[in-house]
């Protein structure tokens, strides 16, 4: 217990500083005087007595110091003293302090932002009961490990699995509108997203608003342990065929639509014309296992009430939704995966048509993160590396500044060392200074990060359509983020503080005391290190800026890529097909025909075509195509399945409206289109693949899918169909902007088909002038489903590679520019200090007759040498990086002269200016003063 007593005693003294020192002094002085008195009594002279007393006593200050160490908690005492000393130093040179703190804060803030996003997605647990027990299960096929399940498969696993206490399904959404929700008003354009080249399609004015929806199995809320805000949540009872249609609102929708009225439970909400009873409300921003919260929660069985053909839920080949589950206590993910492997093989045995080669992937469902494949993880790694690089640049910068400063403090340190300060103590003091700066920077960085995140999230959420749901990722700072931020701040503080500190401890004491470290003495090792730091920063900046130039130019090319058809003069209009069995759905074909006629009559319209998907990135579907003659041969069973190509249903004038050249044969006749005749048009690539060197017109092909896959609405499972080729058209880039389609198939689209609703309208003038007349037309025809319209060229921004390229470019630019800013501050600082240090030398040169221009040039040359080296290294590294980026440059030459030369020139200009400003001050030195300068 003694240690406790001692500890308490030491702690007490922390709070009673003042009088203690006086007492200590008094006690020791009286001892000394008594010793002196003794020697005086023995006959020594007063001086001898005093000397002898002191000799017997030992060092007074050392004794006091030993006493203090016993008395307090020396570490804390020293720490407090160091912090106060550091604060005093910073007050004396506020410029340095501000620059250092700001520089680090930027680096820390950017890192914190990236980490927060990563944390929200991949680290934080879902806000549900015991998230570690949750799992996500996907259907695994040879081509895709993370597919969705069909409803019968889900039921099979649910009924047969022993490892899961619950298995739930969240089914695909439907288009839902409600007569109680007001129609959309004037479209608003998001600001920053629009400026970057991203365009969302807008709803036509007066169009019905779709509701964000989630269809869940009855046990979903029970499994998650969700609590309702009002009323009750969905139960297994509600998910039966023939149950009363009930709906649960999301808190967000409840606030927006019902103004948080607490009497909403029990009232009726009409969805697609069907009456649903509202039984409860979930909490605001609660999204269960999803990352966005919609408007309404419905049981899967409600899809039937809303008009989905019951057969769809019984079709083992129709993909229905996503499966999740809760593991029983003590069961691991591996156990569950093994069990599913066995169950999947049973399914395959029972239903070989659909289930052969299908298994299950089981992953943890604790976090929001969807399973990321290799590509996505590379992007994450790249982003984190880029911001870490920025922080490194910031640290290097501040380290350089500190090095410069420590050179000026050499004398102070030499004196301390000669007074007996230990290396450890000095190191502690120097490190405390740098850590203080780092902690201040961490606090500022946290504030900056919060501000940046709010800006980004706000921008994103105002760009997305509201029916996509509100993103509910938790980005509020919590203890983990605090620790991360201050953790990296501390590491940064030690990193940039250690080297200058170590440098300071090794100077030649004699030289330091005499000279103050002017450059007349041996070249300080510190300046080599500073040069390396500057060169490193510049190299990193160069890589970032060249990458950003390449990515931005590349993604700009994407916007200008000729996709093989006329994209500029086309407006698209999409009327959602009502999926239910209402009156609108019955007369939908008539609506389509009428709409087509009316649009054709609008002024400025040169042609109207129909298609099942837009001709650019979006809605791709695949099917297999093979020569009809091949299929008859007996070896066709053993031959591997033919590759899949994209396809769509189109009206006869599709190629004319889009100006896709017809190379051979003809387009569909109106009769063929209406009858959905067994004809087809292929792209030249497909024609060449199937019949190289021959004319494909007149040949017969087999079109069909045997594996379950996504279909166009209403297609259902089709057996392979034999068709005759009537035309061949030029290749277009409808699947991937980066290259022409490997093959494409066009099939005739009767106006009665349910996948209609997409119109491509060719206009004489600017396509968007048609939006208003179209809105009127739609209103007059009483179209009740959501209607989207926009210029076709805006859809280019949907291409995923464009998105990656553009966003990558923007991020790179931001990080690179910040890096450049930091680099320039660093160069400015270096040259400034170098001028101060070489004042004597400069004075002598000028006294000997050197012109001010020569002196400036000399200082500048020395200061910019590391910049030149950094530039060379950076350009070399960029050559490698650009090869890696090649895939998303849309054909831009990786060694794009404009980017490389442009960035180099920019860098040199900026660096020269940063160095020249302080170099000029060198020549303002009065030689006489300089010579006397110490």
């Amino acid at each position: 217990m003694d240690w406790l007593r001692i500890l308490l005693s030491r702690l007490k003294t922390l709070f009673r500083r003042g009088g203690l020192e006086e007492n200590l002094d008094a006690e020791m002085r009286s001892h000394l005087e008594m010793l002196e008195g003794e020697y005086l009594r023995r006959g020594r002279s007063p001086e001898e007595a005093r000397y002898a007393a002191r000799r017997d006593f030992g060092g007074l200050e050392q004794a006091k110091e030993a006493f203090r160490e016993q008395r307090g908690i020396p570490f804390l005492d020293n720490l407090v003293r160091d912090v106060r000393y550091g604060a005093r130093l910073m007050r004396k040179s506020p410029g340095f302090a501000i620059v250092a703190v700001l520089t680090l804060a930027i680096g820390i803030a950017v890192n914190t932002v990236v980490f927060t996003a990563f944390d929200a997605l991949a680290l934080r647990s879902l806000p549900v009961k015991e998230p570690e027990q949750l799992a996500r299960i996907f259907r695994a096929t040879p081509g895709d490990r993370y597919g969705a399940f069909s409803y019968p498969d889900y039921l099979y696993y649910r009924d047969h699995s022993k490892d899961f206490s619950d298995l739930t399904m969240m089914a695909f959404g439907m288009d839902l509108t409600s007569s109680e929700v007001p129609a959309s008003g004037q479209a608003t354009l998001p600001r920053i997203a629009g400026a970057l080249g991203f365009h969302m399609p807008q709803f036509l004015q007066g169009s019905a608003q779709p509701l964000g929806n989630a269809f869940i199995s009855g046990n979903y809320f029970e499994m998650l342990g969700t609590q309702p805000l009002l009323g009750r949540l969905l139960r297994p009872d509600d998910d039966r065929a023939g149950a009363i249609p009930v709906v649960v609102l999301s808190g967000n929708f409840w606030r927006r639509q019902f103004h948080a009225n607490s009497n909403v439970v029990g009232s009726v909400l009409h969805l697609n014309g069907i009456a649903f009873v509202i039984v409860g409300v979930t909490h605001v921003d609660y999204a269960g296992t999803a990352d966005t919260v919609g408007d309404v929660w419905l049981p899967i069985s409600a899809k039937i009430a809303l008009g989905l053909p019951a057969q769809q839920l019984e079709d083992r080949a129709a993909l229905a939704g996503w499966v999740g589950g809760r593991l029983k206590p003590g069961v691991s993910l591996q156990d569950a995966a093994a069990e599913f492997h066995v169950l999947a093989s049973h399914l395959a045995a029972d239903y070989p048509d659909t289930e052969a080669h299908a298994g299950a992937t089981v992953v943890s469902g604790r976090t929001y993160a969807p399973p990321l494949d290799g590509e996505a993880w590379t992007i994450v790694v790249i982003v984190m590396a880029a911001v870490a690089l920025l922080l490194l640049i910031a640290c290097a910068n501040v380290a350089g500044l500190l090095l410069a400063r420590s050179a000026a403090r050499l004398r102070e340190i030499a004196v301390r060392v000669s007074l007996g300060a230990s290396s450890a103590r000095l190191l502690q003091q120097l490190l405390t200074e740098s850590i203080t700066i780092a902690v201040l920077a961490g606090a500022l960085g946290l504030v900056l990060a919060g501000w940046m995140l709010r800006l980004v999230i706000y921008e994103i959420s105002s760009s997305l359509p509201s029916y996509w749901g509100t993103i509910v990722l938790q980005i509020s700072p919590d203890i983990r983020i605090f620790s991360y931020t201050f953790g990296i701040a501390l590491i940064a503080g030690v990193a940039f503080g250690l080297t200058p500190a170590l440098q300071s401890l090794k100077p030649d004491l004699n030289l330091a005391l005499k000279d103050g470290g002017s450059l007349f003495g041996p070249r300080l090792r510190g300046s080599h290190l500073r040069d390396v730091l500057v060169a490193g920063q510049i190299a990193a900046c160069v890589v970032l800026l060249i990458s950003s130039a390449l990515l931005l130019r590349g993604s700009q090319r994407a916007l200008k890529t000729d996709p093989g058809f006329d994209i500029k003069g086309i407006l698209f209009l999409h009327v959602a097909h009502p999926e239910d069995a209402t009156e609108l759905s019955a007369r939908f074909p008539e609506v389509v025909r009428t709409l087509e006629r009316h649009i054709g009559g609008l002024p400025g319209v040169q042609g109207v075509a129909r298609a099942s998907r837009p001709p650019i990135a979006g809605g791709q579907r695949w099917t297999t195509v093979s020569r009809a003659s091949d299929d008859r041969s007996p070896e066709s069973e053993k031959r591997p399945a033919p590759p899949e190509i994209g396809y769509s249903y189109v009206s006869g004038n599709y190629f004319d409206v889009l100006q896709i050249p017809l190379l051979r044969g003809r387009t569909f006749t109106p009769a063929e289109v209406e009858a959905s005749a067994p004809v087809a048009i292929v792209s030249e690539a497909t024609a060449h693949q199937l019949w190289p060197g021959e004319d494909a017109v007149g040949k017969r092909i087999m079109v069909g899918k045997s594996q379950p896959a996504s279909h166009f609405i209403g297609e259902g499972q089709t057996a392979p169909v034999e068709r005759e080729i009537v035309g061949v058209v030029r290749d277009v880039r409808s699947m991937d902007l980066r290259k022409p389609d490997d093959g494409y198939l066009y099939l005739p689209s009767s106006s009665a088909a349910p996948w209609n609703g997409l119109f491509l309208i060719r206009t004489a003038g600017e396509p968007t002038t048609l939006l208003s007349p179209l809105a009127d037309t739609a209103r007059n025809l009483h179209i009740e489903t959501p209607t989207l319209a926009g210029a076709l060229s805006s859809m280019v921004s949907f291409d995923p590679y464009f998105v990656i390229s553009r966003i990558g470019g923007v991020l790179s630019t931001i990080v690179g520019s910040l890096g450049l800013l930091l680099g320039c501050m660093g160069i400015y600082g270096m040259v400034s200090y170098s001028v101060i240090q070489r004042t004597k030398e400069i004075g002598i040169r000028m006294a000997l007759g050197a012109q001010s221009r020569e002196v400036q040039a000399l200082v500048l040359r020395n200061g910019l040498r590391p910049v030149a080296i950094g530039l060379a290294v950076g350009v070399a590294a960029s050559l490698g990086v650009s090869q890696v980026l090649r895939a998303i440059l849309f054909g831009l030459d990786p060694v794009d002269a404009f980017s490389f030369v442009g960035v180099s020139v920019l860098l040199v200009m900026v660096a020269v200016i940063s160095g020249w400003l302080p170099a000029r001050r060198a020549t303002e030195v009065d030689p006489l003063i300089a010579l006397r300068y110490e």
Partner: protein, 113 residues
């Protein structure tokens, strides 16, 4: 030739100070130092200043207490005195010291037998 002076180890300093206070009663730092010098006939080499951290440590352990008073030459001085716990500690340490001395004596004497 000056007689050889041994350095005083920290542990033994505690024992010496406690014993001194037991013998002399309440005493200030200088007095303790003088006494040590007297008794050891100058064989113990001691930087007198090192007494103070030792005295503080003994006080932290609760073996001695201190009180401000006035010294012989009318200066303000702190007087230290042994506590009851200190007496016990002294007895314990003295006993263990004697045991150790006996063992070493036997080891050294064993050479001859």
């Amino acid at each position: 030739m000056e007689p050889e002076r041994s350095e005083v180890l920290q542990g033994t300093l505690d024992l010496i100070v406690l014993k001194t206070l037991e013998t002399m009663g309440p005493q200030h730092g200088y007095g303790i130092a003088v006494r040590i010098q007297q008794v050891s006939e100058d064989l113990l080499k001691l930087n007198q200043g090192t007494l103070y951290p030792a005295l503080l440590r003994l006080e932290q352990h609760g073996w001695i207490t201190s009180k401000w008073g006035v010294s012989e030459n009318n200066r303000k001085a702190k007087f230290y005195s042994l506590t009851k716990r200190g007496r016990n500690q002294l007895a314990a340490e003295a006993a263990s010291w004697e045991r150790m001395a006996a063992v070493i004596a036997r080891l050294l004497g064993a050479e001859g037998t």
